[in-house]
């Protein structure tokens, strides 16, 4: 499986110049106080991973991967792990940059706010990718966009309906206050694992 991760990371390295440029822009805008674009680097990880699917599809890599030892399984596993690596990398870079900007501007460091902000962004991106990947494996990148749109739209409509028309009993969740980071991590981990299992199942049966 490591070979497949190396392949995905090798594809990503062509984006490094663009990332370097974005980090400079981020630092410049952050230091000049123009605007906060701290979400942009983690968001880039979505774009980067989507581009790897796009290149895979263009060169029909998935059919070739099937002919490699454990290719159907390892190519999916590697895609999820590469995604995880990139999100962590982007989050760490953004967090360190945010520390630097805050320290230069205020000579103080507001650790909790920055870390919470970055963690929230990383979790948001993980949720997006966990939702997207099974669609991409099932329908291909082009058609998956429509599927993802329908799911997100469906969730918003369904959520809106529940909030507006269903009488939700007022339950106190105060006892969860101290545990929410753990609960969140468990939920995200489960979501990612479920997403991986669905993608794997699709890829194991897929004909190319």
């Amino acid at each position: 499986m490591i070979g497949f991760i190396i392949k995905d990371l090798a594809m990503i390295k062509s984006n490094f110049k663009l990332l370097g440029l974005l980090i400079i822009v981020y630092l410049f805008l952050g230091l000049s106080g123009e605007m906060d674009i701290s979400f942009i680097l983690p968001f880039m990880s979505v774009m980067i991973m989507i581009s790897t699917f796009s290149y895979d599809s263009y060169n029909k890599w998935d059919a070739y991967a099937v002919t490699l030892p454990n290719g159907r399984k390892n190519s999916v596993k590697a895609k999820y792990l590469a995604t995880f690596i990139i999100i962590i990398l982007m989050t760490v870079i953004t967090t360190l940059s945010a520390f630097l900007i805050t320290y230069i501007k205020t000579k103080t460091l507001n650790y909790p706010d920055i870390i919470l902000n970055m963690l929230g962004t990383a979790i948001g991106i993980l949720v997006v990718e966990a939702l997207m990947y099974p669609f991409i494996y099932k329908f291909g990148l082009e058609k998956a966009r429509i599927g993802i749109f329908i799911v997100v739209f469906g969730i918003v409509i369904f959520g809106g309906f529940i909030l507006n028309y269903v009488d939700i009993p007022d339950i106190s969740l105060n006892f969860l206050e101290n545990y929410w980071p753990i609960i969140l991590i468990v939920i995200i981990s489960l979501m990612l694992y479920l997403s991986y299992r669905i993608s794997l199942r699709i890829n194991l049966k897929k004909e190319y």
């Binding site: 499986m1 490591i2 070979g3 497949f4 190396i6 392949k7 090798a10 594809m11 062509s14 790897t52 290149y55 895979d56 263009y58 060169n59 029909k60 890599w61 998935d62 059919a63 070739y64 099937v66 002919t67 490699l68 030892p69 454990n70 290719g71 390892n74 049966k205 004909e207 190319y208």
Partner: protein, 285 residues
């Protein structure tokens, strides 16, 4: 002789096309040329052998193992060149060199580097900057660098100039020196197959219409060029197909030594694989 690949009664149904009862074997130490026109079913058959398509009936055994039950074990010992699938083109040969040793335990980095140099393939240039011939060479080098026992090659020489084709064919011939190995080679360039194939399997409209040793085929089959009057004397059982041209008939006969004994024909031309394909596909019975 022990078979390295056995395909038995392979059937696959699509809306507008079907593979029907495909059966053939490749013994160890042999090169099987797989020929047929575009859309005849060559790539579909290869995809079934490689598990790229899965929903089919019939039996495929590689190294004596069922290809669907033992794909991980089988895939470790086969090398593949597909018609249009490979590593993404933003990667470089150097990237492949880093990735493949972790995929194949038997990957031979020195062999890979040797062939890259031999074919003048640059290490650090993206595949998208390569010519079609360079890409094909890289695919071939990547397919053989882990010392596979079976090579499955779908159009491996397409896009190569004659010099490069000869270099590639030499590699295949070296590969087959080890008599434990075998090659399934689909190609439109039948002259290449005339050089290296031991067996020829001919597929047309999803059916195998001929599978024979190449020498038997080229030594026994022949083309009779004759007039309509001469043609009308031939019994249907003595020829396979005929093509009616403007001024003469071309008749494919399966036994060019016996045919003149029955009919007053003096000249029977040797057949090439190209001619065989054309008459078998375009000819009438």
């Amino acid at each position: 002789m022990e078979n390295i690949l056995e395909v038995k009664n392979l059937n696959k149904q699509y809306n507008d096309f079907a593979l029907q009862d495909i059966s053939f074997n490749i013994p160890k130490g042999m090169i099987m040329g797989f020929i047929g026109e575009n859309g005849a079913g060559k790539t579909t058959t290869i995809k079934a052998i490689l598990n790229i398509i899965k929903k089919y009936t019939g039996e495929i055994k590689i190294f004596g193992l069922d290809n669907r039950q033992n794909s991980a074990q089988i895939n470790a010992e086969i090398g593949v060149v597909l018609d249009d699938s490979f590593f993404p083109e933003i990667m470089t040969p150097a990237d492949i060199a880093k990735s493949m040793p972790k995929i194949y335990p038997t990957w031979d980095s020195a062999l890979y580097q040797k062939y890259l140099q031999e074919f003048s393939l640059p290490q650090n240039k993206q595949i998208k900057t390569f010519s079609k011939g360079m890409r094909k060479k890289l695919e071939i080098v990547t397919a053989i660098a882990h010392h596979p026992k079976l090579l499955i090659l779908d159009e491996p020489t397409s896009g190569l100039d004659p010099v490069a084709r000869r270099e590639v064919i030499d590699i295949f011939q070296n590969f087959i020196q080890n008599e434990e190995c075998a090659i399934l080679l689909s190609s439109h360039i039948t002259t290449d197959l005339e050089h290296i194939a031991d067996y020829i399997t001919f597929i047309n409209k999803g059916k195998i219409i001929l599978s024979s040793s190449k020498d038997d085929l080229l030594n026994n089959y022949g083309i009779v060029k004759c007039t309509e009057k001469e043609f009308n004397q031939f019994a249907k059982t003595d020829y396979l197909k005929y093509v009616k041209n403007k001024y003469d008939y071309e008749v494919l006969v399966p036994n060019k030594k016996e045919f003149p004994k029955k009919y007053p024909i003096k000249v029977i031309d040797k057949i090439t694989l190209d001619e065989l394909m054309i008459i078998m596909i375009k000819g009438e019975k």
